[in-house]
Symmetry: C2
């Protein structure tokens, strides 16, 4: 039995992600780039808008022409033309003149303000009355006010959101360089594991980890390859690892949690060409027997076999490494940490970071976090909760009523 006494802390485990480099770039169509990670800064090569634009239906004019205008003392303004959407006006506005303009229309040369149609009245086809003083720039978006030419609008390493797709459309960046989606192989091991399409006989259980891990990889922006189920046999596991590793950027072996399987996994990882065991065991619960190795400059994981443990380790430990392969640079504008109030005491060991499944619900002015209790190895604990809380390694348990950071799960 291999020892897991020399476990490392979670924070030290996560530092090893810097051992690995992002995957290659590719050019993709912007409209398919949601959740892709930018491999370049996106710089505006135009002013947006590219012209002074009206934000209202009304009349474009020189604000000075209306100074002092009021209900009792309207300004009389000559109509010099009409602005057509999507076209550059072929006339100028001077003091005392105005042009009809629709929302989004381009201000004619000479105009610096738009008075809303609600504050005007038509006298005849050549003249309007204006009942309100307009300020310069009122109801106008200035050229370059939205985005300036040469401004860096989206940064390398950012995961593109819907809003960013909008920015790319505005800039006409129809193709952009992004990091390829990292390919992650998954191998499930264990003599007792069978494929979900098979009928278990006594002592067998269906393979869950391949499918939950696959779903988490795809959700995180990777591409999962399901390499199948391998019996607890050194040679078989070695061969499938070697083969799968060729076609992927990261490999996950979801181990049987029994001692024997754990040993096979470590031995196989050691035998892979150019391999090195980075750590064996992290001081977290669940997930202590997690192994990280490196071969061919790719991360290879041995994850615990328990379904909930494998999911939690993926979320907390593996995912940051996947982000590293994706080229993600941490966004400063992300959704903030959310906290909740713990509804009962929880024990935890000093020196170990614990992740507890919780059911979150709104209780008046706070969010309550109710720990989901259940034996290790039960699957149903993953469906009964909707969050995780983290108990720091320097904390020995938490009292009911403590404020805890919550993590969607």
């Amino acid at each position: 039995m291999k020892s897991f006494f020399n476990v490392i802390s979670l924070s030290n485990a996560l530092k090893y992600k810097d051992l690995f480099k992002p995957v290659e770039n590719e050019s993709i169509e912007f409209s398919k780039s949601c959740n892709a990670v930018l491999a370049q800064d996106v710089i505006s090569d135009i002013d947006i808008p590219d012209f002074d634009r009206s934000t209202m239906d009304g009349y474009a004019l020189c604000a000075e022409s209306t100074f002092g205008a009021s209900n009792s003392n309207p300004a009389y303004i000559n109509i010099a033309g009409s602005v057509t959407m999507g076209e550059k006006p072929d006339f100028k506005i001077t003091t005392g003149n105005a042009a009809e303009i629709p929302t989004g229309g381009m201000l004619p040369s000479g105009a610096n303000s738009v008075v809303m149609v609600e504050h005007t009245e038509i006298v005849d086809s050549t003249m309007i009355e204006v009942y309100k003083s307009a300020a310069p720039q009122e109801n106008v978006i200035k050229k370059g006010e939205d985005f300036k030419k040469k401004e860096v609008l989206l940064k390398k390493g950012g995961k593109l959101k819907t809003q960013d797709i909008g920015v790319l459309a505005a800039l006409g960046k129809t193709h952009i360089m992004v990091y390829k989606k990292p390919v992650v192989g998954i191998i499930s091991t264990g003599d007792e594991i069978i494929s979900p399409d098979k009928q278990p006989v006594s002592g067998q259980i269906r393979d869950i980890n391949t499918h939950t891990l696959s779903s988490m990889i795809n959700q995180a922006g990777g591409i999962s390859i399901q390499a199948g189920i391998v019996k607890d046999d050194f040679n078989k596991l070695y061969r499938i690892c070697e083969k799968t590793l060729k076609n992927c950027d990261m490999l996950i072996i979801s181990g049987g949690s029994s001692v024997g399987t754990r040993d096979y996994t470590t031995d196989v990882l050691k035998k892979l060409s150019d391999s090195k065991i980075i750590f064996q065991g992290i001081s977290i619960s669940p997930g202590k027997p997690t192994i990280l190795a490196k071969a061919d400059n790719k991360p290879i994981w041995g994850l615990p076999g328990h379904v909930a443990s494998a999911m939690i380790v993926f979320k907390i430990v593996v995912n940051p490494f996947l982000s590293q392969l994706q080229g993600v640079i941490e966004n400063t504008n992300k959704w903030p940490e959310v906290t909740a109030i713990l509804t009962r005491n929880i024990s935890s060991a000093h020196g170990r970071t614990d992740f507890i499944r919780v059911k979150l619900s709104r209780k008046n002015n706070m969010i309550a976090a109710e720990p989901v209790l259940g034996k290790s190895g039960l699957i149903n604990t993953i469906t009964r909760g909707n969050g995780l809380i983290k108990i720091d390694e320097n904390t020995e348990g938490l009292k009911k009523g403590s404020e805890v950071q919550i993590i969607p799960f």
Copy 2:
């Protein structure tokens, strides 16, 4: 100019979703079902686990054999066999006997408890010493303890999460009935709008709404069809609406926000066969000029042309209708509402529901919501924030320091 005086409240607008029926069902592979909506209850046809299972490496025995055992007074137990992973033991355990068992192994008939290997010592190949009393069911997951036969595990109308994929794998439900992804057509209108791959000349702007709405539809689990850009021309808009509607379950016309375009859209909607205008105008800001019509029993939207307004109306108003088409039944186990503290006073009109873009950040023990200021029609306000707050129609403005519900954006 059509009047928007008879606007309806947001809550009344949302009630109209019941006018529309979910789309058809289809059978899909469970491994591709993440975010799909179940069109059937999923009922367990087996006990999980299907056998009493050990949660530890150790010895399976009758707990009674160890009662009274301690460090100074070990119990001496005969080894009657060894459990192999994935196989049914072909021997029985009686009082005074035990069998080696790995984590996940099937308990032999007669055994009701597992003593951890750490609490035993091997005497010779036929006998162990046990240093601790084992309780019945200790370190054992009972048959059916995880999921019971005939139990409803996943409900019709639920959007499948990674955890649910795990449940489907465990049950061997390799194909499941889900609602098809609703197909949503998008038409962008406006004489000034050009495709992002074109170079704008003065007065023109690139089409953003097609792409931001498309991204939001796909993120929400629909399939977007980009029907293109249409000039402000009644006949052209009518023909493309009629054609697109044939191939989709919902249609969105992102209108120019100018008066002219708005009129065309309403007139076209009225002329579609079997059509009815449901409402014209909602008392929300932004998004007041939102139109809902129904034709061929499908919802058809006229959305404002401003990029930020169209996105907010999609998120707040259109999305619940899309969920209705998807067959979603509201989940009681969803992530709770999160609140933040407003960092400055905000005005709002009584009788109108306002959605304000905010930048959220963690400040000590609370989340601060800083309103993102900027003129209506600016695109950059959508990228500067990371959330929305809602100001209720019965509230006239909010003071700095108020607690507000936040919505990811």
